[in-house]
Symmetry: C2
């Protein structure tokens, strides 16, 4: 699972991490702030943040002993591009099927195996 797209999808597969992303979308926050609402250890949240940061979804900066987390929302484009590509392809196929069915309806005798 080396490629970034896989890392991004995997990062967002965890509800806690999605929640962290949601909260970061409202503004930067420190590890302790992010960990507060959960009943897991700060270390666990720190690990989640490493996963998010390895996926490129969050960046870290330095403020004294604090390591504020910042959401890098552009990475979302990676996913939406992938998704849209195949959604579009599936929809096109779907409308082609519609066209075929309509054609069969128009000329029922030439349907399926029309050689001319």
């Amino acid at each position: 699972m080396t490629d970034q797209l896989s890392r991004v999808f995997a990062a967002l597969a965890d509800p806690t991490r999605r929640d962290i992303v949601a909260r970061l979308s409202a503004g930067d926050a420190t590890v302790n702030e992010l960990a507060a609402p959960y009943d897991v250890s700060v270390q666990a949240v720190s690990k989640h943040l490493k996963v998010l940061s390895d996926a490129g979804l969050v960046s870290r900066s330095k403020d004294a002993q604090r390591r504020p987390c910042h959401l890098e929302a552009e990475v979302f484009d990676l996913m939406t591009k992938w998704i849209e590509r195949y959604r579009r392809q599936a929809e096109e196929r779907f409308s082609r099927l519609d066209a075929v069915l309509a054609a069969m309806d128009d000329k029922p005798n030439r349907a399926q195996g029309a050689a001319s």
Copy 2:
């Protein structure tokens, strides 16, 4: 990881499964057809298809011994909705920051530590 959104993200975190989705976007296919390009066993691909189907991304039908796989592209909406929500929120916050910076630029003397 009970919720569907988690299952969908997790399903797409695997490159092989993303590849299967990509191929299904071009049209339905059987397990053997889908397994052919990979050097893993058919059983492994069958497991991948179970993951995709548990996530709601593919549906199976019945044709003699065959179980054709069909892409359910509407599930993509689940993800894009989630993504767009937080992307938008992050962008709004970003433009508010821009506004603040612009205001500071307009009246540099009142800006926090501006030595004129």
